[in-house]
Symmetry: C2
Subunit: 134 residues, 2 copies
Amino acid sequence: MSPSEKRSPAEKSPPFAEPRLNGDLLATSLLAFLKSYNAYGYQLSQQLAGAGLPQFDSGTVYRTLRQLEKSGMVSSFWDTSANGPARRMYSLTRAGDVFLGSWIETMQRYQAVLTTALTGFALADQKPAKPEES
Amino acid sequence: MSPSEKRSPAEKSPPFAEPRLNGDLLATSLLAFLKSYNAYGYQLSQQLAGAGLPQFDSGTVYRTLRQLEKSGMVSSFWDTSANGPARRMYSLTRAGDVFLGSWIETMQRYQAVLTTALTGFALADQKPAKPEES
DNA sequence: GCATCTAAGTGCAAGATGCATATTGCTTTA
DNA sequence: TAAAGCAATATGCATCTTGCACTTAGATGC
């Protein structure tokens, strides 16, 4: 290759283009809850806390919800009908529903891979590579 | 509380204290592979690439392996028995095995929670909170 | 008034990640 | 034998993500 150019720009992919299972567990949990009913951040934060999921920081919950909205996965409006401070009510969008489905699939596939690896899978074209057990 | 002190030190938990399922998928996959056979970084990197898992950066793979070693999940030694450059051979430790088991459990529980949320679970003490669907 | 709860959000520093590149040793081939 | 190439590990850096503390603000109770 020509040794002149050193770096190509390397565009980055948008936040929720595909399921990554990295920091997406929170996002996915939020979408899963929003599939059953609309809710606001504080409420979701509390329900997550008592659901057997890891302890999510409430700041992260709010930020993730805003990010999901920017990505078109959820939509929101200010709800001032109830007493107390205004609530930002979220609901799942069509795109969010689709993403949620693919993420669940992905998670199941990952788990299948891990389970297979754990049970000692047959390595067809790859020799065992168990060095010495003397 | 007394308004004098502003911040407490707030100690941080060690890297792999408990399964977080955030950036731990790579770590867990590595441990799962190492449960069946000892292996070195380059090899693991290649096998991960063709296993139905997300595309992991090789630099991240090496760094994660070193981090796992610092945490006591794996142990390594330089293997110069084969041709080519020396390889750092990794094997799973007892602690790594335990962590792996708990992580799999955790992942299954998370998935159960999500599945339950998706199928529309019964909200006992929490009213539906479905605002208006007019 | 003052404290407290709900509700949302920001600031900051530390950690994790993606991408490109570097380095070394061995093997092959011109 | 010099050059080229692959195997194998690793680092530099900019960016993204995260946890923790703190702030703002309205409503409610004392």
